[in-house]
Symmetry: C2
Subunit: 262 residues, 2 copies
């Protein structure tokens, strides 16, 4: 196989980054051939780039010859403001919530048209859920997503609905007008709930996390079994926790804010 790129217009940096993009949650360990195929680059190019990335620590080679994301890339990724600012500040309050509720506890931010889960805590008694730290879920079918969409600029809501509201369960809101009224309610009440709208049997409740300027920078939520779920009981501990996080964010002014400005 030729060592020159199939796409000579792509820069070397773009091709090195495409090697990293070959990895995702369903592909955490890849052979060299797998990386080349998923990155869309010739094997010889992949070989050279993977060698450089491995030497630097962006990739690591396991005993069986497969590659995975390296420790050094993980360490540098943690410097991202949502982790080093927002998550570090929120984590102790999330632990308290998890301990108090025995349910899954989420902290999420909006990145474009998706909710990104900055942290997820769980307990052995919590209901199993699909979210994971660093994962993404829709904005219209989860508690945290509804909070983030309700406080996004109107243009975001418009664009989000234009792309179509995917149906996750029979209870997902898929009609833009109904979603608009739902989000009005979220703003008025100060919290969002999603009952079996993402996963059958699960109910999620979430509240906004504000920064010092009053902007909503994140959503804090719990997910419980819908049979056990009583929205008012679930909201109660969320509100003081979100307020405590806001207080700490004000202390750490400018940390972890910028993720929502894109």
């Amino acid at each position: 196989m030729a060592g020159n790129s199939r796409d000579p217009g792509r820069s070397v940096t773009a091709r090195a980054l495409s090697v990293l993009t070959a990895f995702d949650v369903d592909h955490t360990r890849l052979t060299l051939t797998g990386i080349a195929r998923r990155a869309g680059i010739p094997l010889a190019t992949a070989h050279r780039l993977v060698g450089e990335l491995e030497m630097w620590g962006a990739l690591q080679r396991d005993a069986d010859g497969r590659y995975s994301i390296g420790l050094r890339l993980w360490e540098i990724g943690l410097l991202c403001p949502v982790n080093s600012g927002l998550r570090e500040i929120a984590l102790p309050y999330m632990q308290e919530l998890c301990q108090h509720t025995h349910d899954n506890v989420h902290l999420a931010v909006r990145d474009g048209m998706e909710a990104v889960y900055v942290e997820k805590l769980t307990t052995p008694r919590a209901v199993p859920i699909v979210s994971r730290t660093g994962g993404r879920l829709p904005l219209h079918s989860t508690g945290v997503g509804k909070v983030l969409l309700a406080h996004a600029p109107a243009a975001v809501m418009h664009q989000y609905c234009e792309r179509g509201l995917s149906r996750q369960t029979p209870y997902t809101i898929t009609e833009p007008g109904r979603l608009g009224r739902e989000l009005q309610g979220v703003r008025a009440r100060g919290y969002a709930s999603a009952n079996e709208e993402m996963t059958l049997g699960n109910c999620s409740v979430a509240v906004p996390v504000h920064d010092g300027s009053g902007a909503v920078v994140a959503a804090l939520g719990v997910v419980a079994h819908s049979v056990r779920a009583e929205v008012s009981r679930l909201v109660k501990p969320l509100l003081p926790a979100a307020e405590a996080i806001r207080g700490r964010l004000v202390e750490h002014e400018r940390v972890g804010y910028d993720v929502l400005s894109r």
Copy 2:
């Protein structure tokens, strides 16, 4: 300033990676000029590379024009086996420990000659400590570090001592022979303790986390105020937690093991 590199021998990939290396825990937000200076590349090169990295999501530009590590790099970094395997598995047990002890709880792995903190949980009642998730500390002056060094190949211990044992406090073990006897004791007792050896006033206790093959893949520890610290009381909840994590690692065979093989 010229657009060509000061060091033409460095590959484009290496220079792109050097842009990322410009960021560390004391430099999470940098101007373009700051990136060029810290990466050792011309401003024009930095401008081009930063543009490509920003477009891909490895960097993000904040409202004031400074750059920080981007959400996408954080997300890909989380696919690293120590996070996606080891940390995800250990987190609920760490939460229980934190809730039970009200102390700082650590999970660490060895990377070469350092302990890397995979996760750190804390509570408002815990004693303040210097560690952070993704941070690194010496192997000879912390509880988790002693566990990791005690179970490392003899060549690692030899090389570690050759580099000199840095003195963190007046109580740090800086004499190789004494450290060797201390680590023998760690292996014999099944746990390590470090009393004011890293930070005055703090005591840390740690136990090994084994995988299915019996290899030590991580260390689980607590850090408490040395006045309150009673080693036997601190060790007690650590042992069943480490054993529970081992059980889950066996279930998830091959996940999160490889970090210690380098």
